[in-house]
Amino acid sequence: MKKLIFCLSPLLLLACGPTREVEPNNSYQQATPLKPGATGVGTMKNSKDPHWWRVDVAADGVLSAKLGGIRDIDFVLSAFDKDRRELVRIDETTVGGDEQVLDLGVAPGIYYLTVSNKNPAANNPSQEYKLVTKFEPSAGRERQPNFSALTAQPIDAGGVTRGWYWPTRNLLVDDPQAQGVDHWFSVDVQKQGLFLLNVDVSEVRKVDPILEVYDTNGYKLITVDQGGVGEGESLRSFGVRGPAKYLLRLRSKYDNVGNSEDPFDLMTELLPYQGRTEFEPNNQRSDATPLELDSIQGTIAPAGDSDWYKISIATEAKQILRAELTGVPGMDLVLALKDTLGNDLLVVDNAGKEQPEVLTGYGVTKGDYYLVVSEKSGKKADNRNSYTLSKKLIPWQSGLEWEPNDSTATVQSLKVGDSVDGYFAPKGDQDWYEFNVYQKGTVELDLTGVINAAPKLTLFDQEYKELASASAAKPGDPVTLTRDLDRGTYSVRLQPADPAQNNVRDKYSFRVIQR
């Protein structure tokens, strides 16, 4: 018995050890069988002949192979399917360097790996190379080659897919000038309706990733390139309409840059759209996100992003639109109000970095209006910190300021004896009021004080000739002007002495009295 064990032990050891190439093996018919996960060993006796290895795969999975470099040999490693269609070709190093295929997507069947040399002067017939293979389940893994939109790998929205920025060059592409390798994934939105797609790409050393989203027509919908080298990318609240298929393209920003040691994680999430967040892309009027609830959240990303929100007013009645925008760390946000054609009605840029902006009130009637949120410099982006944009529609009534009233053409009518409450906001605001004097007499104009504004009151006749003016001594002080006036129309301009002064919190009250 001992003798038997002694005799069989070398055979057992051989069975567990590497698989040695069997020459001749320079065609697929002569390929040396290699179990998935096993190691093949060979020598480049004739450096011009490729070595074919046959891998019989029994289940779906991902196959990786690492070919250890040897002296004098400039290895090229390729993978083929059963029909000898070349799937991937790796030539990342020069003489003596390792080559490796990572996460080749395989299904049950025959695959081939070929080991060849491209150094014509190679002469190393005796040193052994090792071809180490690894077979793993494909769940949650990238399945190469997915280097084109046509071969995009379907992934479930709501999971993590691990992949590699490797190889750094696609040697099988038709265009010899083409550089870099794209990793394409497809997300199938099967249900009907509006959804928000979130995508996160983890950081990988040496790689500066770019993420792009395409529709099935091949139109690029968005490019995400906020992070730098060694940083990740994140796409938040990207609006998609189902049922439809969307393609994600992930690549390294710089050619011939990759990483075979650290994988990337691609995390996707698909959420039903409930109107609480922006619906990207909403960068233009036609794509504006409907602002139907009282508030909505959004982010400024990528740099230069502007978020359009549509407010549709169905009633004929006059209303005052008030809007508030919260601050975002490190950013100076600007809020603009636009009309149905996208023309500017008002730009609110009262406060500085990280401070809220307030649209104190703008007169609106039936129709569509747009609120647009942007970052002042156009160079900053942050998809982790969101802003909240809230709106209120208040029925207009006599005694409330009706913006726009910042010119003689849009002057607000006021009856003698009445008062009106308004704001010195946004920055640079001036408010015009007009009243008629039907009987000659003494008229008194009273303006209450407002913190942070030292207002100036100017009286004009009906031909807009200045008659008199009065100013507050200091911010917060009231202003009064008394004048004998003939029958006629008169205008009053109210404005802070310094256009930078404004107050979005406190209203002034202005009154015209005839004595």
Binding site: T365, T408, T410, N436, R487, G488, T489
Partner: protein, 157 residues
């Protein structure tokens, strides 16, 4: 013979039945065509009315009445809202309150006066010899807002 008398009754009944026009209700009176305002020689007051109508489907019919010191002194021609209409008047010299009143013809129904809150504001205009007061009224957002500007120009000699 019985069936013959039944047929005669049916025929009589058919003659007595209301005509289709009676069934559909009263016929609306023919629409009165508004005469174009007469040309005024040496006007001292010009009103120009226009409206921004972004969508041609929303264009309608309107005209504007002019009141000076509480009395109606003229009205523009009836026309499409998007068309600019001009009214030239010779008003008495003096400073007088001018009120404009906008009337619109809805798709269905009669002429209606725009709600008070949407009407242009009343303002004084000083009418003088040798000059023309020019009032420009421009509506927007389907008459929901308007701007009224006043200017003066020298009268042609």
């Amino acid at each position: 013979m019985r069936s013959l008398s039944f047929a005669a009754l049916v025929l009589l009944g058919a003659c007595a039945a209301p005509r289709p026009a009676d069934v559909t209700g009263p016929v609306p009176p023919p629409r009165r065509v508004e005469p174009a305002p007469a040309e005024v020689k040496d006007p001292n007051f010009i009103l120009i009315v226009s409206e921004s109508v972004p969508n041609p489907d929303d264009d309608g019919i309107s005209f504007t009445k002019v009141f000076a010191d509480g009395k109606e002194v003229g009205k523009t021609a009836v026309g499409r809202k998007a068309e600019e209409r001009t009214l030239r008047l010779k008003l008495p010299v003096g400073n007088q309150p001018i009120r404009l009143e906008q009337w619109v013809l809805p798709g269905v129904g009669e002429w209606s006066r725009l709600a008070d809150s949407l009407q242009p504001r009343e303002r004084f205009a000083r009418v003088e010899d040798g000059s023309i007061v020019r009032l420009e009224l421009r509506f927007a957002e389907g008459e929901a807002s308007n701007t009224l500007t006043v200017s003066r120009e020298a009268a042609a000699r």
